[in-house]
Symmetry: D2
């Protein structure tokens, strides 16, 4: 199988860099275009950038000249899949138009997450939601698939294996790293030796996205999961990794050992199908008294290609019908670029994308 | 009134330094002795110390020679009140013995917090618990009064004014500063750009102490408040100030405005009696979208002497019967030395200590 | 003497806030106007602001409505002295025009530092340079007096008392705090757990300003001091205070004790004249093996009004003709607002400003 | 060739962990024993440890039971090479005794660095100093080879290629990361948002070690390089990587371009001989205005096995006969474990160790 040509929109930010890093030498995909705003467009990727993610800029990407993000520039490249790390405000329109031209959009932007026929996909949790894109394909040539907000990805991963025990409510308090605010999103003076107990729209995203992700696809639409999700979000002076304290109220008593097993043995479609970016186990349960910790645990997940794709959980404690735990998710890998790529792998494996297909015509939205 | 001679045990640590700072020019008390372990004993206070709290070492304290902590050294000084910032393991015995000699011990150590006749006193909340020291005085010449754990002081202050609304449970997640671990308690490599989701015994202290503090003194004993307190404690890379996310479940619907008023108007005995270290209002409600923050709000409280004695609360939100908020407490002032001094002021005002009384004899415990 | 009405231009930034804090209850000056860019203009000072300097917003300032920075708005206020914390690009023109209207401008902006008839004034070092403003007054009604760049203020203070020993060169390496980049000047992701070995134009400023400040006023012009100053500037993840490593090469051997005495006994005109913002001694020599440190020493300087106005020096070592030391300066107090206010106090004391004078007419530049 | 059995003494600290990481799958060496103090001895390596270096604990090491550091325990293992990450005070004696038994000690400890017949070896710089171990072998069966202090390794690497231009003096100011103080060496409260301008013995080590490393081996002894090295050392709140500001005074004018070429093209014996841990180029010259930075550049060096082995230099500027630059060295890789392993590779390649040799008898020191 020839590798499918892909483009990365918004290639200079932290999520864009993770796309570039994780798509390097990918068995299914090969980057043919990188786009950014006018500020960096026209420059070589290796020159314009402060590379801030693991390792070095992949050699072949260094010389690639960045295109300015636009429908035309993307269409010219011949890319059939587009990974989007655009800001929501910009993503909304261009993603729709590109879909109309028959492109397959995998987007980390929040713009389309609540479109009725667009799934918020986390393949371990709701791979069946992928089916809903058929509704998109019924009216246009391409589709948009979103992944969730960074914190949501960790929370939802934790809740899914515990659903059988009867979850009444989930109260989550986040310790989110500064990388989640983007490369220039937070001023140093504001966060140095400080905690900021507010992240714009984050609590709403966590609460609404979780209910959709854990919802039921009834063949036609996604019916939200009815569950109390209560989120309180803070920024902490940590470079990478979102830690969360989670308190789950169950309908009845649960056993800690049973919970630990349900979490540590949890596997989904990506694991069964051995998708390239899937971690062997998506949840790592730690038993030390003081884990997970951002600096020690953010890169959980094996094999190599899945580093950062496993969510780590620890300090599982039970008090009556309340279960307490801490979880950690790599916000720009599992919480962004990594799941987005995993979604594309799933769509390819499920033949929603065929390797020999060509994007043509269209644009009528 | 002559000022009463006091001693500070454990004067070199952060809490000890706050005692020294806050007792300087105190209208009721005057420091006559400072004690520490053998390592610093014999040296001048101004020479042995890295002063790490606000302002400069009070001039008169610079030349004071530190005594080694022992019953004998304390008794010799003629101090009638002892403020204790000792580690719990050392505090247990020496505090008991000194009480036997008729001294009045105000202790930040946890050793005696759950003695049946010792109150965990926060004067705004449970000033009536002070009465229980009469049981101590019935069998020995002095008494021990403790203040709570640092995080508990903030939590309990928040819960007290909301009790009338019917609290079912309180779920608290803490963001605790490194000063809470003491001057040498935490290694730099462990916390740099990291969060540690574990503080030894902290969750247990918060849960048990809150129930005693909010408990009812029935004239004979303190009956714990029956309430679910669920705590998850983390260390964050912040120098000072413990932030906490709090979710309170009420028995019935509450109104945010009503809650804000209850908090911001809350005043207790220290405010009525105008105790020197009492803040005008013990709770400051902030309405900005991103407060409280440690670097901006830890010194809440006026007048000058009460800086750091007010607890700040913000982001009060309601979702059904759940109320969310963030609170911030200065861990070594309101959470330690400050409340301890306020307790002594209350005891003096309530005539549990008389200014003309002399500590004598005793020691039979 | 009535207090002179002053305005602060650029009141919302960190330096602007220090002006407001330090001018509160000032014996000579009283704030009548605060200005900022259009973004904050029209709002009350207490509402628009994240106060980020010591203590609380002075009560009378809370209700003051911020004006938009403009010649007209300043002239209307009746202020006779203007303290400027504007960015250099904006300061250049408006400061000149206001001078033309007879106002006395004390500016922290770099725009006019190298105008031939404008001094870079640090009263302890070059109070005689003040005379050069007579050249300004000969052609227009007001004057502009600048203070130096933040790092330069610490370096120059160190070099002045050592000049008699014959300085050949000074090699300085800076550890500058993030507050020096302004409230929003540096992104959190760039500096978290990092050092950035570059601060735009800083090395040039240190090298050129020092030579002018230490230069000789010959009655007509300032003749730069001929001396090698070699600066290397870094940003470090520290909130406040610029630390510097300094290596001075002397013409001949010097004695450490002699150097220490020269530094610790150094006093200038502000000390002799007991200016309100002058520290009793402008240089504090510490003898511990590990000082000065930003968190412990930035507020050096007494009395209360002069906190942060003393430069701290430590680890003075000699190796042959090289002398090594570390110095620390509070970058927004001694390095900015504090020296600027001290300059105004000096000008008033030297009768360059008369208390009964009124700014009128003018504007012809 | 069979891989040679090696032991790592002091395996739990940060340098010990780097040894374990870098020796995993090493083409020449294989770990047969790990030792530590009594506190961890007897436990499995994977259980006792907070792994704090890149990647995961190598799988085969997880189950290895740690031995207590002692002559007996090492001898029993059959290891022929010992890598030592012991504290200097413990290293001194045990390294000597093990040498007497015919073992080849490659030590990161400072204990023997100034023994007359022990080299401080950095293979790119002074591979000929290796010859001096023949003097050790003349009197005993094994040898000790040390590497330098962490900061020295970066400084010496910079000075070597510039020697032909005539260096008169080198003034270095360091920004050293907290990992350099070891896992528990520095308290969080001391360094949070702070700089500490003192590291015990560090300045002396840099000054004396550099002169020995750059010295001339005359066939009998190492004659120190006569050169002024002036060091000022600071600890900064950075996790990993030592940055240094360097000012070199040359005898005559030098050209920046010439210097850059000399640095970027510099290669030594490890490069010629393609030693496994040798970076292709030991010095990476960066041309951006704000590099090197710890978080971006500490892992300089390729191929994979040599990550962290290249020293990065940037901001090369010339002012008269002074050359300014910043350099960055990974303190626990190039500055410790990595160079130590490179030394062993060199010794093997130069046949100072033969693969078939067995350590026997001895111990007479």
């Amino acid at each position: 199988m020839d590798r499918i040509k892909v483009a990365v929109m918004g290639c200079t930010g932290l999520v864009g860099q993770q796309f570039v890093r994780m798509l390097h030498n990918h068995p299914f995909f090969t980057i043919h275009a990188l786009t950014s705003s006018a500020r960096s467009a026209g420059k070589k990727y290796g020159e314009t950038l402060s590379w801030a993610v693991e390792g070095e800029i992949p050699e072949p990407m260094r010389e690639l000249v960045i295109l300015e993000t636009s429908v035309e520039s993307i269409l010219k490249t011949g890319a059939r899949i587009v990974f989007s790390a655009l800001p929501a405000s910009i993503a909304e329109k261009i993603e729709s138009i590109l879909r109309g031209y028959g492109l397959f959009i995998f987007s980390n932007a929040s713009a389309h997450r609540f479109d009725e026929d667009v799934p918020i996909l986390i393949p371990e949790i709701n791979s069946d939601h992928l089916e809903i894109v058929k509704r998109q394909l019924a009216r246009t040539k391409g589709f948009i698939i979103t992944n969730s907000n960074c914190s949501t990805s960790g929370l939802a991963m934790m809740l899914k294996p515990l659903e059988p025990f009867g979850i009444q409510s989930a109260i989550v308090t986040t310790f989110q790293s500064i990388s989640g605010a983007g490369r220039r999103g937070l001023s140093a003076m504001d966060i140095a030796s400080n905690v900021i107990p507010f992240i714009k729209n984050e609590e709403e995203k966590i609460e609404t996205e979780s209910r959709k992700i854990l919802g039921k696809f009834d063949g036609l639409k996604i019916v939200n999961r009815d569950m109390i999700i209560n989120a309180s979000c803070c920024r902490v002076p940590v470079r990478e990794g979102h830690l969360m304290g989670l308190v789950i109220e169950f309908e009845k008593d649960v056993d800690v050992r049973t919970v630990e097993n349900a979490l540590s043995l949890f596997r989904g479609v990506p694991q069964e199908k051995r998708l390239p970016t899937a971690p062997e186990f998506p949840i790592v349960v730690r038993h030390e008294e003081d884990r997970p910790q951002p600096v020690l645990d953010i890169y959980a997940g094996s094999p190599e290609r899945a580093r950062g794709m496993a969510v780590t959980v620890g300090r599982i404690r039970k008090k009556g019908r309340l279960l307490n735990l801490f979880l950690l998710v790599h916000n720009t890998i599992r919480g962004a670029a990594g799941t987005c790529i995993l979604n594309a792998e799933l769509a390819l494996m499920k033949r929603f994308i065929r390797a020999d297909q060509t994007a043509t015509g269209g644009g009528q939205e």
